[in-house]
């Protein structure tokens, strides 16, 4: 399969529904957005994810590893992740799982990075598409920004690419080893 045809669908479930991004080829962000689920959130989210898989025919679906022993995701999200993995299996689409630690290390070069830092790094990767609308910085009394789902999904996709191809999150490609984020670049 050539690189232009390699499509990644990254999904980041949340309390509201889920965010998704589709990256094709080297680093072309072809679709992104959030989907809201109400009522039976898992059933609705799963139906929407399946619709996206049908529409974009991804080569790989990237999810956060919610079943890891360090994961503190809600039981509903863990169940949804399993359902998405099963749905991808039915379509013979590969699934890649990244733990939160891997995600932060690959993107920021720092396992203790924050979601906000990841969002800012990801926005730099897609200046034309995502940089104009980064999520606002969350204060302790504020809810998480609705756009954060999309940035979480984009972070998953970029981290997967970094691991697979040696991308540098700042925009250039590394020749070997894991890529590092803006904080660690020279």
């Amino acid at each position: 399969m050539n690189q232009t045809d390699f499509r990644i669908l990254a999904i980041a479930p949340s309390t509201r529904g889920f965010g998704f991004v589709v990256i094709e080829g080297e680093r072309d962000l072809i679709a992104w957005g959030g989907r809201v689920a109400r009522g039976d959130k898992n059933a609705q989210s799963l139906a929407k994810v399946e619709k996206l898989m049908g529409l974009y025919r991804p080569s790989v679906v990237v999810l956060q590893d919610a079943a890891g022993k360090d994961s503190r995701r809600a039981l509903r999200i863990k169940t949804l992740n399993q359902q998405i993995i099963a749905a991808a299996g039915k379509r013979k689409v590969k699934v890649a799982l990244l733990t939160g630690k891997q995600l932060r290390t690959l993107l920021l070069g720092n396992a203790a990075g924050t979601k906000q830092e990841m969002a800012e790094t990801v926005a730099k990767c897609f200046p034309e598409r995502l940089a104009s609308r980064p999520p606002r910085k969350r204060r302790p009394w504020m809810n998480e920004d609705g756009r954060m789902d999309v940035f979480d999904a984009a972070a998953l996709a970029v981290a997967f690419r970094v691991r697979k191809r040696g991308w540098r999150a700042s925009g250039t490609r590394t020749t070997s080893g894991p890529a590092v984020g803006a904080s660690a670049t020279t």
Partner: protein
């Protein structure tokens, strides 16, 4: 395994931060739910007409073969297959004109695989 998507209209619309309604207006669509037409195109529910495809090209500033990459690739494959058949038929004609034709058909039948190879190497 996936090849290009049938079209990249949604990607280009989002790149320019246009709404479906705005694109529909630019396309010259009328009526209350004119954005629906753009939505159908973006979700691959229908193939737009030649006029519509050229209007998209004018709006997004990209050639139609890039905007409708999947459809173009499919057509290219079909043409290459037909060119092979025609090349086989013209094989036995010895004159110069036929030689020129054979050359063109050989190029045409080989173009698809050549372009795929170029893309994978880039």
């Amino acid at each position: 395994m996936p090849s290009s998507l049938p079209n990249y209209l949604l990607t280009n619309r989002k790149r320019l931060a246009l709404s479906q309604e705005e694109v529909a207006f630019l396309l010259g669509a009328t009526g209350e739910n004119k954005g629906v037409k753009v939505c159908r195109d973006e979700r691959f529910a229908r193939e737009p007409s030649l006029r519509m495809a050229l209007t998209y090209e004018a709006i997004y500033g990209k050639p139609a073969r890039e905007l409708f990459a999947g459809i173009y690739e499919e057509i290219e494959r079909e043409v290459a297959a037909r060119a092979k058949i025609l090349l086989h038929r013209k094989d036995r004609e010895p004159d110069a004109e036929s030689a020129r034709k054979r050359q063109m058909l050989a190029d045409l039948s080989g173009r698809q695989s050549g372009e795929s190879a170029n893309r994978s190497s880039s």
